[in-house]
Symmetry: C2
Subunit: 198 residues, 2 copies
DNA sequence: CCTAGAATTCAACGTATGAGGAAATCTACA
DNA sequence: TGTAGATTTCCTCATACGTTGAATTCTAGG
């Protein structure tokens, strides 16, 4: 019984702040905004709840600090969009499905879940998507209707995340990645390169 | 001060049960599952919280009892799918956007919001979508890959709801219905009638 | 008219939450 | 070495929640 928690700073360099952020990231992703509690995050980080508040101020600020895309849009999107325009839809689809089949799924699901449950979280997500994702696509596309194209692409991705990983509607949830890529690539291709009206 | 609430049954025929269901519908739609409280529903229905429990048993049962699509899939979907196959994408898009521009928006947003926030709600929604929507489309389509087609259509619709009405990402949220219809009709057309791979 | 049961309220319980203040222990720099 | 500031805990407050049990008033059927 030497592990009784005692007040006061612990010996050594503190990595606690990061531990809290990590735990918060996992929990927001898994549980959404409402069901994630400061106390739960503190428990997972093996820390007193007051410390979470001490570092991040409030639950909302914690969320805002922890919301992140599992990739850097500024790096990834230009790479996807440059190159042969005839293949851009497939490249895009492959990337999206790839993220959802990897460690990135958690973060994506978390974003969507949180955006759906808490107004403040929705605003954080809107800001994130608008500035970093849509903005980047618009720059690369350059056309007049690029913002609409970009947001329709975003809607498609969000729909996938919801249907496949949040609601888990069958058979979509059980569809093989390659089949999925085949099925959605043309949509991205059209949204990114072909005329929108007609 | 004659309106003090007194215990005991009120005179006349009781419509309270419906009032509670209505209030619950509105609140689940507006707030999602977690942020909707039995107490809040009771307040809106001008009723004691215990009465909500008396009628519906628990919050989860209340939700399950109140979840509904703002249209009857068994009536609407066959109508949309029969007729000229060359136009089915546009008919579908027009219908979906129409629902989202009308009173049906509330219910759709509620379904999506709730599905994102509560596991039990997600299951209710999955059940609803699988059996009543996807099932109907599959019957009308008849092909082998109809289930996948139907769930991709569902994903597209959910993505629209999320992006346009829950997160409200611009410019999608501000796009005119007609422009939107033009933009998404080809996606539905392809998902419903054209080859999925290739 | 009587009574079984439905509708309705009140009060309460146990639990959880986000947050603040005060105290304790440590690090880091002068 | 001393001390300002950072890190950490404990205790507490005010709220809110879902749910239960008992009491009260009404309706409906015999």
């Amino acid at each position: 019984m030497t592990d009784a928690a005692r007040p006061g700073r612990r010996p050594g360099t503190s990595t606690t702040r990061d531990a809290i952020a990590d735990a918060a990231g996992r929990q927001f992703a898994e549980l959404g905004y409402d069901r994630t509690t400061i106390r739960g995050v503190a428990r997972e980080a093996a820390v007193d709840p007051a410390l979470v508040v001490h570092f991040f101020g409030s639950k909302q600020q914690l969320f805002a600090h922890v919301v992140e895309l599992p990739f850097d849009p500024a790096v990834v999107l230009p790479q996807l969009l440059e190159g042969d325009r005839a293949d851009v839809g497939r490249r895009f689809a492959t990337f999206v499905v790839g993220v959802l089949e990897s460690d990135g799924r958690e973060a994506m699901v978390g974003l969507v879940r949180a955006a759906a449950s808490e107004p403040a979280a929705a605003e954080a997500v809107r800001e994130l998507v608008t500035r970093r994702v849509i903005g980047t696509i618009v720059t690369a596309l350059g056309s007049d209707d690029a913002p609409l194209r970009a947001s329709l692409v975003g809607a498609q991705v969000v729909g996938l995340v919801m249907a496949r990983h949040v609601v888990a509607v069958e058979p979509l949830a059980a569809t093989a990645p390659d089949t999925l890529i085949d099925a959605i690539a043309p949509t991205f291709q059209r949204l990114l390169t072909e005329p929108l009206t007609g």
